[in-house]
């Protein structure tokens, strides 16, 4: 009996020891695992790939203001930082009203005639600020910069850009005409956007100030872009000179355009082949000219 009891006690002790050993091992494992777990938790913060950058909202399509210009006048559309846009303008030199319809048709509605062609490249210098260069084939070069002072939003009823430009004839070696102005825009829900653009153009009269009454022009650009279908717009603009040098007639232009991806295709008519601000300040004619613009945004 006593032996049996000893054997049982020994078995119990062995079981207890095994249990103790097992418990110790589990504790050790748990204790040892704790730092490793903590390390694993810390690792994602150190090695995880950086969160993707938030997309610049300026890259989003503004359906009511899809382009940087109406026909020739600028808009308040912001160009994303470090992005580019390109524009080509054509104004055919043959007046549409010259001759009868047969003459016009034989000239393929003025497409056979020479044209004033302009090439423009603009660049987003920083958020809200863009600059560019525009050259027309009458050898005028225009530099411009725009800064978005106020962006239209729920709390701000208007968009506002500060605008400065200077053009020079003969590849920017002769007569220079600087311009300063503001571009004010107002978007109307689902309909389109409307613009008022007071702009002062210095040396719009290319004669010395000693022999002319007015050397500068102050014009008030007025324009609208109306969305008639999801990607189709009707655009119009005019630029009456309210003070200063005002030869010719008041400039006007109108057109229809289609947005296709990053492109905007526009066909237009105007009473001037001029497309820079100083050319617009010099007014239009009594003739009407056919033209087109194509814009390409390089981020869409």
């Amino acid at each position: 009996m006593a032996v049996h009891q000893v054997i049982q006690a020994t078995r119990k002790t062995g079981t207890t020891v095994r249990r103790l050993l097992a418990a110790t091992a589990i504790c050790a494992a748990v204790l040892g695992a704790t730092p490793a777990h903590a390390q694993q938790a810390a690792q994602p913060a150190q090695t995880a790939p950086p969160a993707p950058r938030e997309r610049d909202p300026d890259q989003n399509l503004d359906a009511l203001q899809p382009d940087f210009t109406l026909l020739a006048l600028p808009t308040t559309l912001r160009l994303p930082r470090y992005k580019m846009a390109f524009r080509v303008t054509h104004r055919f030199g043959r007046p549409l009203g010259q001759g009868d319809f047969g003459d016009l048709a034989s000239d393929f509605f003025a497409l056979d005639s020479s044209a004033q062609i302009g090439l423009e490249l603009r660049f987003g210098l920083m958020r809200g600020t863009q600059g560019g260069i525009y050259r027309t084939n009458d050898r005028t070069i225009e530099f411009f910069v725009e800064h978005n002072v106020m962006q239209e939003s729920d709390s701000r009823p208007l968009g506002l850009n500060a605008y400065a430009a200077i053009d020079g004839t003969n590849n920017f070696t002769d007569s220079y005409s600087p311009a300063l102005g503001a571009i004010i825009s107002r978007k109307v829900r689902r309909l389109g956007a409307f613009y008022a653009e007071p702009i002062w153009v210095n040396n719009s009269n290319l004669l010395p100030s000693e022999i002319v009454d007015h050397n500068n022009s102050f014009l008030l650009g007025i324009g609208a872009r109306v969305r008639v279908r999801r990607t189709v717009y009707v655009v119009a603009e005019t630029a009456p000179r309210v003070a200063g040098y005002d030869p010719g007639t008041t400039y006007w232009a109108a057109g229809v355009e289609k947005l296709v991806g990053g492109h905007m295709f526009q066909i237009n008519v105007s009473n001037s082949v001029g497309t820079t601000i100083s050319q617009i300040a010099r007014g239009g004619s009594h003739d009407t000219f056919l033209g087109f613009n194509i814009t390409r945004k390089f981020w869409r």
Partner: protein, 155 residues
Amino acid sequence: MPQFLPCRLLLLVCVVAFASFIAACDEKLSDLAGPSPNLQPTFASIQHEIFETTDASGRAACTNCHTDAGGRTPSGGLNLRHDIAYTSLVSVASRGKTGAVRVIPGDVNDSYIVQKLEGQPGIVGERMPRTGGPYLTEGQMSIIKRWIATGANND
């Protein structure tokens, strides 16, 4: 706030650059005047640069003929001698064409001197200078016209 600083600095730089550039943008009168680069729209300047001087293009001075110097008879009865030129021109009837007035202050188109210098239809006699050219350039004429348009003052 600091994020707006570059924008404002850029704007300031642009405004300053523009202001300085604008001051230099006006066309130079000397470029327009061409062969008589010192010509101004004043009577004293026109008297000296046009009436009394043969310019760089070879256009003959008016006083080669229109003078009483040396006892000569001024051509067409128009004496452009320095001290009496103004009173010979402004609001004085032409001897060559009845009813014409040599210079009508403020009226460029009807001033007979402009018609004669440009050789317009309806003039009596030859275009001036009668040497057959060179004639006054368009720029020189613009300056003379400006003097008439602003009142043909004896300035």
